[in-house]
């Protein structure tokens, strides 16, 4: 039982990694007042781009950077439509989702006509001395570099948001853009930047699934498989805080890990719970319970989804 629990906890971190990247990025976008429902599409396109680039170049770094670029490109599409023109953010987000997934599958079908891109995921890093701590050591200190990067990103982005002048500008733009404008802050430029940051981090989340976990791509949204949508839920659960997004992403990662590990453990647990469909509900049940417990004080940025036009 201890080994099973250790296995579940160890797997929960890489499973939470893509959600955390995307959620932190989406926190920035929503804090600035822009809702990006296209996170899933951005992650899907970035997943393919990271795989293809890494396969061609042999460089994981280039693959990750290419994924970030793809995320920025789709983020630019979203920001131009929503921030510049003022199109309904929900509609544009869904279009971005469709475009991202469509381009990724379209491109993958063409490249696989001649070659099948497969890579070996990044190996786990053993942190010296810390890995030797019983149970906790292998659980936390034997992960790949992207897992550590995801947590570091959340902390750094939280510090920027709460401890820097620019972070204050971002928050003020999302709460009261008129006042921010009056104070001399370029509201739309700030929003553009935040959406691009969101796209970049969503791209990194998509790359994390491939480079840090799977090593291959498959069409039909079977690689990201809804984790982009989960990231948007995590933002709400986290009350638009990068720090709390760590907990939110981990809860989902933990839920996935519990479900997958119990399913993989064979008939014993599946028989106990009826069938795997019940276990697959677990991540969402966990999230629902947590949201119900901590729902008080949940207030989105005041100007979320509201375009700003200077009068």
């Amino acid at each position: 039982m201890v080994d099973l629990l250790t296995s579940i906890l160890q797997a929960s971190l890489p499973l939470s990694m893509p959600i955390l990247f995307a959620a932190v990025g989406e926190v920035y976008a929503e804090r600035a007042g822009v809702l990006n429902m296209g996170v899933e599409g951005i992650m899907t396109l970035a997943a393919f781009v990271s795989l293809w680039t890494t396969f061609l170049t042999g460089s994981y770094l280039l693959g990750a950077l290419a994924a970030v670029a793809a995320g920025i490109a789709l983020g630019l599409l979203h920001s131009l439509a929503c921030v510049k023109i003022g199109v309904n953010q929900l509609i544009v987000g869904l279009l971005v989702y469709t475009i991202g997934g469509g381009i990724a599958d379209f491109a993958y079908r063409h490249v696989t006509a001649t070659t099948l891109p497969i890579i070996t995921p990044l190996p786990n890093l053993d942190v010296p001395y810390l890995t030797g701590i019983p149970y906790i050591g292998p659980m936390i200190f034997q992960q790949n570099v992207l897992v550590y990067l995801s947590f570091a990103t959340a902390v750094v982005m939280g510090l920027i948001l709460y401890k820097t002048t620019w972070g204050l500008k971002v928050r003020s733009v999302g709460e009261n853009p008129e006042a921010a404008d009056a104070a001399g802050i370029n509201v739309n430029l700030t929003r553009h930047l935040c959406v691009l940051i969101g796209g970049a981090l969503a791209g990194l989340g998509g790359a994390a699934i491939i480079l840090g976990y799977l090593g291959l791509y498959n069409t039909g949204d079977t690689v990201v498989a809804g984790r982009g949508w989960i990231a948007i839920v995590v933002v709400i659960f986290a009350r638009w805080s990068p720090y709390r997004a760590i907990l939110g992403a981990w809860i989902f990662g933990f839920g996935y890990s519990v479900a997958a590990t119990l399913i993989g453990s064979g008939g014993g647990f599946s028989a106990l719970t009826g069938n795997p469909y019940f276990l697959l509900m677990l991540p969402y049940v966990f999230a629902l319970v947590v949201i119900l417990i901590f729902h008080r004080g949940t207030k989105p940025p005041s100007s979320l989804t509201v375009p700003y036009k200077r009068r």
């Binding site: 080994d3 099973l4 296995s7 797997a11 499973l15 061609l56 490109a73 630019l76 599409l77 131009l80 439509a81 510049k84 023109i85 475009i99 381009i103 599958d105 379209f106 491109a107 993958y108 079908r109 063409h110 490249v111 696989t112 006509a113 001649t114 099948l116 497969i118 070996t120 995921p121 699934i209 976990y213 799977l214 090593g215 291959l216 498959n218 069409t219 039909g220 949204d221 079977t222 690689v223 498989a225 996935y256 890990s257 479900a259 997958a260 590990t261 399913i263 993989g264 453990s265 064979g266 008939g267 014993g268 599946s270 028989a271 069938n275 795997p276 469909y277 276990l279 697959l280």
Partner: protein
């Protein structure tokens, strides 16, 4: 000012649209991303029915066939292929497209392939193809279409349309004369043979079997595999895991990892589409432990439907192939010869399963210590010969639920 704003908006929209077109078009222009050759034409998956909606008895089909008789197809020998995915699945859709290409090349048929047909669209797409009058045969591939194809064939028959239908696979009963099915037992013999091979090759005595969802065809395949294992080495355990989904590769990886680490499975068979892809990655990343000795051993995967060795060349022991070409060739030959009545209205039982080449497992060497020894290959070949000759009969076992423990 307003004019400036309007121009700015137009320019911005133009830039956005141009960017999308350029990104999409780049995949035709950039070397290495150009599309491969394809002898078939591809219709879009957004074809809509021309008829109005009416509920049909199956409950899932929401389009109807008109009573107006269609004219005879203007071009003889044309086939429309309907797929739920595309060739990148290296599975059902891949082998269907290979078979369709072969029909076009060898029999001179015009073939049109509709990929990525969503569940909600299947009724309208199949009906539209049937009613178009362009096709002698509408071939529908995928479990998700079971029931829909048969219902549309029924309506087409009553409407007097001349189109034939083929559904791969199926188990439907009470068929009209214008449809032929490939029975869902098509891979049973192949999985028996795979079970024999796996039982010979396992070093831990534990084999895993990952299934997307527990359907009759998967039940048959699993128990045929178990029969092959038990006939070879009854002490070997087979662990069955039903993932609950066909479309989550990350979930599949974690499931496979758990089976390797907790159940010590060193061979994993998978019939799980995208979910099964995770097993290939898990086999590359993790070793299994031999109980008792603690020795670490290489993990192998058995592919399904198509030769999946390319997904993990050093970890795919073999794949259980599905000779879809044999089925559709038989159908096409009957149409060409005008002998459709010999197969129409029937559920064809065809043993289409066989083992693929062993590729990197073809020999034991310093580079491939995990290879299949010649003695084992000979043993398996003998079993295959006996199965083909009918000396070994593989039972088709269907249960409501998967086993609750190792078998």
């Amino acid at each position: 000012m307003k004019l400036k704003k309007g121009v700015s908006t137009i320019v911005t929209v133009g830039v956005v649209v141009a960017a999308v077109i350029i990104v999409a078009g780049a995949f035709y222009l950039v070397p290495g991303l150009a599309p491969g050759s394809n002898t078939t034409t591809t219709a879009t998956a957004t074809a809509t029915a021309t008829a109005t909606s009416t509920v049909i008895s199956t409950g899932t089909v929401t389009s109807t066939v008109t009573t107006q008789k269609s004219t005879a197809p203007p071009t003889p020998h044309s086939m429309a292929v309907v797929l739920g995915g595309d060739e990148t699945d290296l599975g059902f859709n891949y082998v269907a497209i290979q078979a369709a290409d072969l029909i076009a090349q060898q029999y001179g048929w015009n073939v049109s392939i509709t990929r990525d047909v969503q569940y909600s669209q299947q009724g309208s797409v199949i009906t539209s193809l049937a009613q178009s009058g362009k096709y002698d045969l509408v071939w529908v591939v995928g479990n998700q279409f079971i029931g829909t194809t048969e219902a549309i064939a029924n309506q087409s028959y009553k409407a007097g349309l001349k189109t034939y239908f083929a559904q791969t696979p199926s188990y439907w009963q009470k068929l009209t004369p214008n449809i032929v099915l490939l029975d869902q037992s098509f891979q049973v013999t192949g999985y028996y043979e795979a079970g024999v091979l796996a039982a010979k090759m396992t070093q831990t005595g534990s084999i895993g079997f990952i299934i997307g969802q527990w359907y009759p065809s998967q039940s048959m395949e699993f128990y045929a595999f178990v029969a092959g294992v038990n006939a070879t080495n009854p002490s070997v355990k087979v662990y069955c895991t039903v993932a609950g989904t066909w479309s989550d590769a990350t979930l599949g990886l974690q499931i496979a990892k758990t089976m390797i680490q907790n159940d010590h499975t060193d061979i994993i068979a998978q019939v799980a589409d995208a979910t099964g892809r995770g097993a290939f990655t898990a086999a590359q990343l993790y070793n299994a432990t031999v109980p008792g000795t603690g020795a670490q051993v290489h993990v192998s995967v058995i592919g399904t439907v198509a030769d999946q060795a390319s997904l993990a060349p050093n970890n795919v022991m073999t794949s259980v192939l599905m000779n879809t070409t044999a089925f559709i060739t038989a159908v096409v030959q009957h149409i060409d010869a005008g002998t459709w009545s010999q197969i129409g209205g029937q559920d064809l039982f065809m043993n289409l399963g066989s083992l693929s080449s062993y590729h990197n497992y073809s020999a034991v060497s310093s580079y491939t210590p995990y290879g299949i020894p010649a003695s084992v290959q000979t043993y398996v070949s003998n079993i295959v010969a006996q199965v083909n000759a009918g000396t070994i009969k593989v039972q088709q076992e269907v249960t409501q639920n998967p086993p609750s423990g190792p078998v």
